[in-house]
Amino acid sequence: MTQRAATLPVGAQAGYAGPVSRSVAYLLDALLVSTLATGTAAVAGLVAEAIGPWARDLTHAFVAAYVVVLPLIFAIYLGSFWWLAGRTPGMAVLGMRVVTVRGDRVRWPAALIRALVLAYFPIGAVWALVDRRHQGLHDKLARTTVIHHR
C-alpha cells in the first residue's frame, strides 16, 4: 500500500494543516453549532410554552440534557460535513480538507468515528501538536489527516 505523496512547493499552501489552523476552524464550527443549538432551544422553549405543559416538560428535559446532547449534535454536524464535502464551514474558511492517509475522500464510517471521538474526547486532538502529520487521536483512529487545500 503506497502513499501518493505530493511535492511540497516552496512557501507552500499544500501540506498538513497545523494545530493553530485546525484549532481556529474547530472554534468557528463550535461557535456556529452552539449558537444554532442555543437559538433552537430558545425558540423551542417559546413554542413549548405556547403549546402546553407536556411540551414544556419535554423542552425542559431537553435543555437539561444540553451538556450531553450538544456534543452529539456537534458530532453529527462534523460527520455530515466531512462525509459529504470533506470539510466543515470552519475548515473552508481556513482552506483545509479532511482526507484519508492515502489522500482519498473520507467515507461515512471514518467520518462518524472521527466526529464522535473529537466531540466527546477533544483533548485527544492535542497529540496533533507533536505528531509529524499533525494527526490527533481521532485522526489516528479514523486513519485520516487534515491538509491545506483551497
Binding site: 501540506g15 497545523g18 493553530v20 489552523s21 481556513l94 491538509i147 491545506h148
Partner: protein, 174 residues
C-alpha cells in the same frame, strides 16, 4: 709714447672681427626677438584659458542666482497663499462656482442611480466580495504564521528536521 693695440692690427683683420662680432650681435638680437615672439604667440592661449575660467564662473553664478530667485518666488507664493485675504477669496469663489456645480451634478448622479441601480450594485457586490476575501486571507495568513511558529518550536524541542509530504487529495465528486 703709447701704442694703440687696435691700430696695430691690420685693417682686414679688424673688418673680419667686426663681421664676426656683427653676426654674434645679430644672433643675440634674433634670439631676443624670437623670445618676444614666442611670448606673444602664447598670449592668446593664456587669454583663452582665462576667458574660459571667467565664462565658467559666470555660468555657475548665473545658475545659483536663478535657483535663489526661484526659491524666493516659491516662498513668497506660499506665504501669499496662506494669508487670510487669499483664503477668503478662494472660499468665496468655491461657494460661488463649486458648490452649485457639485449640488447639480450630485442630483443628476443620484437620479441616474435611482433609474439604473444595476450600475452601482455590481460595484458594491465587488467591494463586498473583496472585503470578505481580504478578511479570509487575513485569517488564513495569521493561522499559517501560528502553525509555522508551533512547528518550529516542536521541531526544536523534538530535534526534527524532516518534512513529511502530504498526500494528494482525490478530486471531488461531480
Amino acid at each position: 709714447m703709447t701704442t694703440d693695440p687696435a691700430s696695430a692690427q691690420p685693417a682686414v683683420a679688424r673688418w673680419g672681427d667686426a663681421a664676426v662680432g656683427a653676426v654674434y650681435i645679430a644672433e643675440e638680437i634674433a634670439a631676443a626677438w624670437f623670445a618676444t615672439a614666442r611670448r606673444a604667440a602664447a598670449l592668446p592661449d593664456e587669454m583663452g584659458r582665462r576667458f574660459d575660467v571667467a565664462a565658467s564662473r559666470g555660468a555657475t553664478e548665473r545658475a545659483r542666482a536663478r535657483l535663489r530667485l526661484a526659491a524666493t518666488l516659491d516662498a513668497t507664493a506660499a506665504r501669499l497663499a496662506r494669508t487670510t485675504v487669499v483664503d477668503r477669496m478662494v472660499d468665496a469663489q468655491l461657494d460661488r462656482v463649486l458648490r452649485p456645480l457639485v449640488t447639480a451634478v450630485l442630483d443628476d448622479v443620484l437620479a441616474l442611480l435611482e433609474r439604473e441601480p444595476e450600475r452601482i450594485q455590481a460595484l458594491v457586490r465587488g467591494q463586498r466580495d473583496t472585503m470578505v476575501d481580504e478578511l479570509v486571507g487575513r485569517i488564513r495568513s495569521g493561522a499559517a504564521a501560528g502553525d509555522s511558529a508551533v512547528d518550529r518550536l516542536t521541531a526544536r524541542m523534538l530535534r526534527r528536521d524532516r518534512v513529511v509530504p502530504a498526500p494528494v487529495p482525490a478530486p471531488p465528486l461531480e
